[in-house]
Amino acid sequence: MKAVMIILDQAHYSQIEKDLSKLNIRGFSSWKEVYGRGSGKGEPHYGSHAWPSVNNAILTMVEDDKVAGLLKYLKELDNESANLGLRAFVWNVEDGM
């Protein structure tokens, strides 16, 4: 099991939420109003007057074999509109119930 943390511009949210099930991923948790700044390029997402854009975050636990497909999908989405901002990070999941 891997945990995939997706930090995305809120404009991506509805699209990703819809496409997760297409990728056979059922479970996920999400947060609205997530603020942050990328390490490289890209606009900060602060929800402030200067940087009004806002991120959402999606955390999903997937089988190891699904990770590659998910990341590939996200990469394509990001390339489509590079300026919006979309990143994903993968953890190991130790245990669960």
């Binding site: 511009d9 809120q10 404009a11 991506h12 949210y13 509805s14 699209q15 402030s48 007057h49 200067a50 940087w51 009004p52 854009s53 806002v54 489509e80 509109s81 590079a82 300026n83 919006l84």
Partner: protein, 1064 residues
């Protein structure tokens, strides 16, 4: 869920709600009554008291003064003026605008009741009447006839007046000028004496003979019958055979002592249209009725009615208010349409996309049509103020939508899908859109609270714009994102059509060039800000200088409504026949000389008591009232003001005329031509007369003043019978019986009516005309005493010639004479200065004082009201800005553009030679809200850039480059939408021209200046801010170093741990 999110997610609901709004708006629009001006509750109440037989000075002392004293304490009273005439006292009370007239009426009634008991015996109960703007006639028709002229009254009354009265909305239809039928019994006094019969006896006999008496019921067998006695005469001829007395056993018939004439009344008001004798039919509407609908209905019915008339009777329209309303309204509708097209072109030019343009343009009709719902629900009318509000708002309603759409486009360009871009793009700018709408509302909402005449005019403007702007805000936050989500294409799906390609090739480079040129300019400006500010201040000072020298002020622009009214007076006491002849002479002159005049009609003579409007005008045997209708404005070269001025020259050349007043525009309610009046208060009639005469000569020397008249009437020549009371009582008579006898002989005695076809006509008994033409005739009148002995007047007293003042005017409980003139082609402010200096050269005796009133007074009042409004509005706008920016400095920078707007507005007025009046001032107030918008956009973006970490100058230059287009777009839509209003040539456009010019001048000048001033000022203030921060920081460091030194010396150690301030 937020409102814009809901809207985007429910496109069907959203669009249907707005479609519903438009449908309801259109439905209400159909039902809105049309009128020229917003309904203004007239703040006048009159108290009329009659005291038959009393002279004007008796009336003044015994009736007018006690009533005035009591009424003076009425709440909210502004001015009290009165006219004391022979037999009647009329007090006019003027109340503050906006007083509750029902309360006022109750109050007045109480006050009158309080004193009415102490008024002299014989006074009738005071009549209290509220004036209303509905009293002005909506339509005046004139009927002329040749053969049927004597029967005209009956014909018109039955076949025109009665059917017109039934038209829905018509209040009263009154007929004047047509002679009414009357049966005259003209007695020859010598014959009466011979038979020893009195005139009263004849009248009594006629009354006694001309009756029907029901004698009761009686039974015959099984039936009940009614017994009737029919004594009424069937034909006026039968009167001849009435026995009026007997003489030595012989019956004396009426034909023996008198002639019976079945004829028409003499000494009534006569009216002539284009030189032909006729009658005037005046139509007044019911309160709140739709003038245009009434006139339309009448005009539809009139051709039908005219078919039933004898062929020689012709009816023409002399005055038609609906005509003026319709043309004014239509020219405003045209203005709105042109403005709509202009705004569309501007938006398309800057955005370069059809879809975006459509999304934005949709907000215009919806918000405008939506405002009709408000008009209908509050019972308002569609009038020139409401329509002008629409025209003013057109340029502004698109602003919110533009800002929203622009941000949505930015999101789409960044890669969002239209739907998400619509939601999040709107969310980001929602606050600033609300704030900028609030600044506009902060300007227009206080307008609804202004008092006075100005308030009456702009109240609806305030409400309309507030409502339209609020609607446009709602549209920008719901419909615009919804339509963007549906209609905009994301960047990857974008297809270029031919228009896009053409636009990208031709227009876009142009705009890009403009952007970069402007950012270069701003770059220079921010680096040389001292010089820039110097130049801007210099321009400001020069502007102030020029306006101070050239600007003129006035009250309100008079508008050309194709009507001229004219009152021409011959010397007091001139016979009606002579006056009528002069009237014909003037009519002929107008026909020959003025091709612009279509219809001219005049009335002459004493008005009937039942002719309300006639008796409100000045009337008398020596007075003519002209009502002139010119061709429509576009079919003639001269304005009604020019024609009026030429008429004045012509009238001045006629020696027989003693006074004349030419009023271009006529009675148009609140907005007429300007006048100026010098009021002389004082009790002594001789002194004030002299002063008024001096003032008149002085005013005649002032340029631009016309029609200078003195309000006090001329002393009237009269004959007075002075009875000797001793002789009267010796003969068993008293004043009342003697006076009655004289009145019956001269004026006539009406004791009975002749009935025919359900109509009643007076039977008037009096001396034959040839026996009441000389003083001897009067001296020979026989008065019979109770013993039946006839005594001649010459044996009871004497007839003397004298003169008296027919009328005493008072104002604020003092006698007043006003010298009034109307203005022509010169600004009110200049004339007013000249008049003031003329007054200062007068030698004013003690107990007398002089004041200027008229339009100047109204102007000062309105200007001070509007000045206060300007102050409140500026403060409110500052508050909105300060709370939006959470700063006191930035709003200050933005507010700096307002003085430039004012200078620009006044400069344009000066350049076009227009004076500043109420409308211009309203324009200035509106500018406060409009010009700060540019500043908000610029400063907001500069702040944003700085928060993103740019240096001040970079932030300013970048903001300038990126915000130039939105600023230009919103400004140009506002300015260009005003152009049709400013250059409007349609009827009634004079009123709005000033407003349009003010806004165009102000917006243009302030936009140019602010585009330079704001970057410069921002860099000054921003730079100072940075310096202040640095200084604080420096102080902090030096404090730290000092502390460090102290510790170091204490420890007696040396170290290199200093932080050098210069290193930071």
């Amino acid at each position: 869920m937020k409102i814009y999110e809901t809207a985007v997610k429910n496109p069907v609901g959203t669009s249907l709600i707005f479609i519903g709004l438009v449908l309801i708006g259109l439905m209400f629009y159909q039902q809105l009554p049309i009128d020229l001006y917003p309904e203004v509750e007239v703040n006048m109440v009159s108290v009329m008291t009659s005291y038959p037989g009393a002279g004007s000075d008796d009336i003044e002392a015994n009736v007018t003064r006690p009533l005035e004293n009591a009424l003076n304490s009425t709440e909210n009273i502004k001015e009290i003026s009165s006219v004391s005439k022979d037999g009647v006292s009329v007090i006019m009370l003027e109340f503050e605008w906006g007083s509750d007239m029902n309360m006022v009426m109750n109050d007045v009634r109480d006050k009158v009741d309080l004193v009415s008991g102490t008024l002299p015996d014989g006074t009738n109960d005071p009549m209290i009447m509220k004036f209303s703007s509905d009293m002005a006639p909506v339509l005046i028709l004139s009927a002329t006839a040749r053969e049927s002229s004597d029967a005209l009254y009956k014909i018109l009354d039955e076949q025109i007046v009665a059917p017109l009265n039934r038209v829905q909305g018509v209040g009263t239809v009154s007929l004047s000028g047509a002679p009414q039928r009357e049966v005259q019994v003209n007695v020859i006094p010598a014959k009466l004496e011979a038979y020893n019969i009195s005139l009263e006896q004849i009248a009594r006999v006629i009354a006694a003979e001309n009756v029907n008496v029901p004698a009761g019921d009686f039974d015959i067998g099984s039936q009940t019958y009614m017994l009737r006695l029919e004594g009424e005469i069937n034909e006026s001829r039968e009167l001849n055979n009435i026995v009026v007395g007997s003489n030595s056993g012989q019956a004396v018939y009426l034909k023996d002592v008198a002639t019976v004439n079945d004829t028409v009344q003499s000494r009534i008001m006569e009216s002539y249209t284009n030189g032909e004798r006729g009658a005037t039919i005046m139509v007044q509407k019911q309160t709140g009725a739709n003038s245009v609908a009434i006139v339309d209905a009448i005009e539809k019915q009139l051709p039908e009615l005219m078919k039933t008339l004898p062929p020689d009777v012709e009816i023409v329209t002399v005055m038609d208010t609906s005509d003026n309303i319709k043309t004014s309204i239509n020219s405003l509708l045209e203005t709105i349409l042109i403005a709509l097209i202009i705004v569309g072109i501007v938006v398309l030019f800057f955005l370069g996309r059809w879809r975006a343009t459509i999304i934005i343009m949709v907000s215009i009709p919806i918000s405008l049509i939506g405002s009709f719902i408000y008009l209908y629900l509050t019972g308002n009318t569609l009038n020139i103020v409401t329509l002008a509000s629409l025209s003013i708002a057109i340029g502004m309603v698109v602003d919110d939508a533009i800002v929203v759409l622009e941000n949505i486009t930015k999101h789409i360009e960044r890669g969002s899908r239209p739907r998400q871009a619509a939601i999040y793009g709107t969310e980001e700018v929602s606050l600033s859109v609300i704030a900028s709408t609030l600044t506009i509302i902060a300007v227009f909402l206080p307008m609804t609270m202004v008092g006075g005449l100005a308030g009456a005019l702009i109240k609806q403007l305030g409400w309309m714009v507030t409502i339209i702007m609020s609607l446009s805000l709602v549209i920008a936050l719901t419909l615009t994102p919804m339509m963007s989500a549906k209609m905009m294409r994301s960047s990857k799906d974008k297809k270029y059509n031919r228009f896009d390609k053409w636009y990208n090739k031709n227009i876009l480079p142009l705009l890009d060039k403009l952007d970069s040129a402007y950012s270069k300019l701003v770059n220079k400006v921010t680096r040389k800000r001292g010089l820039t500010l110097g130049v801007v201040v210099g321009v400001f000072i020069v502007g102030v200088g020029i306006t101070a020298v050239t600007l003129k002020t006035e009250f309100i622009s008079a508008s050309d409504n194709n009507t001229i009214m004219m009152t021409v007076e011959m010397p007091t006491g001139t016979r009606m026949e002579l006056t009528r002849e002069t009237g014909h002479k003037i009519t002929r002159l107008m026909k020959e000389k003025y091709s612009e005049i279509e219809i001219s009609s005049f009335t002459v003579g004493q008005a009937d008591t039942d002719n309300l409007l006639g008796s409100l005008q000045e009337n008398g045997s020596n007075i003519m009232n002209f009502n002139i209708r010119t061709k429509k404005a576009k079919f003639r070269n001269k304005t009604i003001f020019d024609i009026s001025d030429e008429l004045r020259t012509d009238l001045a050349a006629m020696p027989e005329i003693s006074k004349y007043v030419v009023t271009p525009g006529g009675i148009t309610g609140i907005i007429g031509s300007s006048n100026i009046s010098v009021d002389i208060y004082g009790y002594d009639l001789a002194e004030t007369d002299q002063l008024a005469a001096q003032m008149k000569t002085k005013l005649e020397g002032i340029e631009g003043l016309r029609d200078i008249t003195i309000s006090r009437k001329d002393y009237r020549a009269e004959y007075r019978i002075e009875f000797d009371r001793e002789k009267l009582s010796l003969n068993g008579l008293n004043m009342a019986t003697a006076g009655g006898a004289v009145r019956n002989s001269i004026n006539g005695l009406t004791m009975s009516q002749f009935r025919e076809d359900g109509e009643e006509y007076d039977i008037r008994v009096r001396f034959d005309e040839e026996h009441r033409q000389t003083i001897e005739d009067i001296e020979n009148i026989l008065i019979y005493n109770p013993m039946g002995v006839g005594i001649r007047i010459r044996d009871l007293g004497k007839v003397v010639e004298s003169s008296s003042l027919p009328q005493i005017d008072r104002q604020n409980r003092e006698r007043i004479v006003s010298v009034t003139g109307s203005t022509y082609k010169r600004a009110l402010s200049d004339i007013s200065t000249d008049v003031s200096s003329a007054i200062s050269t007068l030698d004013i005796p003690s107990g007398t004082h002089v004041a200027i009133s008229g339009s100047t007074e109204d102007q000062q009042e309105a200007f001070s009201d509007l000045g206060l409004l300007l102050l409140i509005v500026s403060l409110l706008v500052y508050i909105v800005l300060a709370s939006q920016f959470e700063s006191l400095t930035y709003p200050f920078i933005i507010i700096m553009s307002i003085p430039f707007a004012f200078i620009g507005a006044l400069l344009l007025l000066s350049a076009t030679g227009k004076p500043l009046g109420i409308m211009g001032l309203i324009g200035l107030i509106m500018l406060v809200g409009m010009v700060v918008k540019n500043g908000i956009v610029l400063v907001d973006y500069i702040n944003l850039n700085r928060e993103r970490g740019m240096s001040i100058i970079t932030a300013v230059v970048n903001a300038a480059k990126s915000r130039l287009r939105p600023v230009l777009m919103t400004t140009l839509t506002t300015i260009l939408a005003m152009i049709p209003l400013a250059i409007g040539t349609g009827q009634g456009s004079e009123l709005w021209q000033q407003l349009g010019l003010t806004i165009i001048g102000g917006m243009t000048f302030s936009t140019i200046v602010t585009l330079i001033l704001i970057p410069a000022l921002y860099s000054v203030f921003g730079g100072n801010g940075v310096k202040r921060e640095r200084k604080k920081h420096y102080e902090k460091i030096s404090r730290y170093n000092q502390t460090l030194t102290r510790i170091k010396t204490k420890n007696n150690e040396s170290s290199n741990d200093y932080i050098r301030p210069s290193a930071l």
